[in-house]
Symmetry: C2
Subunit: 463 residues, 2 copies
């Protein structure tokens, strides 16, 4: 007879840690460093703070394969009453709003704590002091897996005698530095390339120190919280928006709850589809809601989403970064206009580097980023790879493989449709695929012109 | 100021449906058929029932891109008081036990319901009658996403006037049959190959009918629930086992809660590590638990896991299946002995087919299965691909590419470490990688001998 039961989200991710990228000790060490570093960057550059981040990875003196990871940042800190849930409750987050951040699931820090708890059994240590707070707070936390809630083993606080603000996270996990080393170092390096305003220092178990000093004091404008765009709104989201809105009429609802809808646009929209502007949206029947959702999806006159709440890397910075790491003879980059995916605004950026010190290979070298996070694994199941390897006929642009060609793709937005909670590859979403393709064709055309010009000059020289 | 909140598992998977394989209408149609068919097979062959399964996919008459999917089975049915949670509560399942089943997450049916709810807005319809029940039960269910609980819009029951038992699931979703068609048909065909005891009929939106008649009445022994093996037990699992066990002493705990541990083995184990057999495991300190977990992991005298609770396809059936689909000139297959991964017993099976009607290609054709589920996507991020394309030097076995070579890999066990909840590829787990490699070398050696013999015969003929 079948034994039915339900389990908590903590138990789900404890049983299925491979789903979150923790599939073996080397991957777990990589993923743990990532999750903590991504949290540190979200706590700084999304809040107008020039990041100063220190990462320390050391071997435990007695237990083999046990590593202690410490990540320290000068970010906004965490209000003490939220710390236990932030590190001890799966699906708890401050990033469930519509804003471009690296984090989005409410899971990362908890996976690190869970993995440490199951492999080593020690609590995570948190030290934090929010901006403006006069105290420093310290915690030792474990997760009650069955109930999905934090177990606070220790907490303390003391007066702050400096103006330090930020967070220190210390955890002990089973890992494998030998196998993880190359990817961890690559990950931090590729992070530094797109955050030239950050100081990042990493001490490794082999006692190597990697220092990425900031090369600019100018922080890009931080991403801002926004409203959903009407395109791609599904029925459930529409129902949720209506439920949580204080708007009394349909017209007020459209203007207040969406971006890209002003009074004039709202009136035209309602007139075109025969909606009553004064109707209370809470009184709509299921059929009327379906009609409204369908109309919102197809109406083409809504203003395209603005880019100003998003935070792309920028074409100049992409070119600088490619120049610095690859030393190519030619480099080009483009930042596309925003598009909409299920109500979310997305910007795709594409960079191309050719020749110079790039070694020839059978496929383009692909450097992927999503919300400024470097994606290093699962390349072949990423939508970018599909575009670069299948949708583009490179011979049309004058490229014969093997060729010295590198492509950088950055997708940023208020939601990244990752294929997995380990954030390694982006799903096959049609609008993203076509944006990458169009951006790639733009930079490839520039390469084609460059190669043609180069060939003409070489022929002239020969004569 | 950061807005902290927690969300329910239903809201998590609603917001991140790409994580579960629902990344576009074509994938969603494929995934929906899969999830329902996998549930129907679990309800039959895991319970000694020869499966009779009907799949119907029809276009909605008025709404474009809306499809209605119906899956009917003759399985064990669902007790009516569990139906609402089974289809309306995310992370609710009867497969959270240690038994080889296709399902494992408690999510599949709910994802189909969620996706239908957000794209079309109609409830899922369930009709079910458990074996031995005298009534048939009908439900219409939607999911309260915020609270992660079912909304029962309709329920009814009536006396059963036949001995039918089983379940019918009917749902309306947005899909794209044009783009999904090839993969859905391939998925059902590859399912039928490894379930030759099943009748599967599928009616498609193009009014095609695919019929897979059973070619045998003999069902393999159903998989059975088992206990964890001591190898790979982590601290958390050890604590949970102790907590839920009614054993009064350590000796009783070891014998009762694990497979592969008899009285003699338990005594030897405890003596070797200096444990007191009469100690109540509930009194162990954190340090003693760590010592016990470590000892359980390393002690080499525990009996290897038995294969009898698992349900592999079997070498004969793999060869038959490869022969039938590929018409090769040579075929070989091997079923490996069970190994342990984190307390779970796993069996890897490898099949190889060469020549004949197989078209030559640059890489081996790879047919992947996990717990008898065909895996069609994300091939290049699967551990099998890594072994087939990187770990094996095919020239050593007499293979020069392009070559007409196909490999089948089946991994079965009480837990499959998938990379994602969409069940498309298996994570890089070291013991699985080495098992696939060893199995592959076994069948490749047989191919090498065959090719050598063939070459000798051809040379003899030439003289
Ligand atoms: N270093 C930090 N500084 C400030 N806040 C932090 C820090 N680390 C974690 N947090 C807070 O804890 C919350 C939970 O972090 P966690 O990594 O689990 O989820 P997330 O970052 O929101 O999403 P994701 O799972 O995608 O990483 C964050 O939303 C953030 O509010
Ligand atoms: N056709 C069916 N016949 C009998 N029981 C079913 C059927 N479909 C679903 N169930 C029951 O409903 C439960 C939930 O199904 P669901 O697909 O959501 O999860 P699962 O199959 O347990 O795991 P997974 O998410 O990996 O598919 C199953 O565990 C099973 O007990
Ligand atoms: Mg995070
Ligand atoms: Mg299922």
């Amino acid at each position: 007879v079948e034994k039915f039961k339900s389990i908590s989200p903590a138990e789900f991710f404890y049983r299925n840690k491979e789903i979150a990228g923790f599939s073996n000790p080397a991957r777990a060490l990589y993923q743990s460093v990532r999750e903590l570093l991504e949290n540190a960057l979200d706590a700084t550059d999304a809040h107008g703070i020039l990041p100063d981040i220190e990462i320390t990875i050391t071997r435990d003196k007695s237990k083999s394969f046990v590593y202690r990871i410490t990540v320290k940042d000068n970010g906004i800190g965490i209000p003490p009453h939220y710390v236990p849930d932030a590190f001890g409750r799966v699906l708890f987050s401050s990033k469930y709003v519509l804003r471009q951040t690296r984090g989005m699931f409410g899971l990362g820090a908890k996976m690190v704590v869970l993995y440490g708890q199951m492999t080593v059994g020690e609590p995570v240590e948190i030290i934090t002091s929010p901006i403006g707070s006069r105290r420093v707070y310290a915690f030792k936390i474990m997760i009650d897996i069955k109930e999905n809630k934090p177990i606070v083993l220790y907490k303390a606080s003391w007066p702050k005698n400096s103006d330090w603000h930020g967070t220190i996270v210390r955890v002990a996990i089973e890992g494998d530095w030998g196998r993880a080393r190359q990817r961890v170092i690559e990950y931090v390096r590729r992070t530094a390339i797109v955050t030239p305003y950050a100081n990042i220092v990493m001490l490794t178990p082999d006692n190597e120190v990697y220092v990425y000093r900031r090369v600019t004091e100018s922080l890009p404008p931080p991403p801002r919280e926004t409203k959903p765009h009407p395109h791609g709104i599904d029925l459930e989201m529409l129902k949720m928006l209506i439920k949580s809105s204080d708007a009394k009429t349909l017209e007020e609802f459209l203007i207040k709850e969406f971006q890209g809808v002003g009074k004039v646009t709202a009136e035209r929209f309602m007139r075109q589809y025969g909606f009553d502007p004064n109707r209370d949206p809470r009184t709509f029947t299921q059929e009327e809601l379906e009609k409204l959702a369908k109309a919102l999806k197809e109406y083409s006159e809504f203003r395209a989403p603005r880019a100003d709440h998003l935070s792309p890397i920028g074409a100049e910075l992409i070119k600088l970064g490619l120049q610095a790491i690859l030393k190519p003879e030619f480099v080009e980059a483009v930042t596309r206009k925003p598009v909409v995916y299920e109500g979310h605004a997305l910007i795709v950026e594409v960079g191309l580097a050719y020749g110079g010190a790039i070694p020839p290979s059978d496929h383009p070298i692909l450097l992927r980023y999503a919300n400024k996070i470097p994606l290093l694994y699962d390349e072949k199941s990423d939508v970018s790879w599909k575009v670069v390897a299948e949708n583009i006929d490179w011979s049309y642009y004058g490229i014969q493989f093997p060729a010295p060609l590198a492509i950088l793709v950055h997708v940023c937005g208020t939601k990244i449709p990752y294929k997995g909670v380990g954030k390694e590859s982006i799903a096959d979403v049609p609008v993203i695929e076509s944006e990458i393709e169009n951006g790639l064709r733009q930079v490839a055309r520039a390469l084609k012109a460059y190669l043609a010009k180069k060939r003409r000059e070489e022929e002239l020289q020969r004569k």
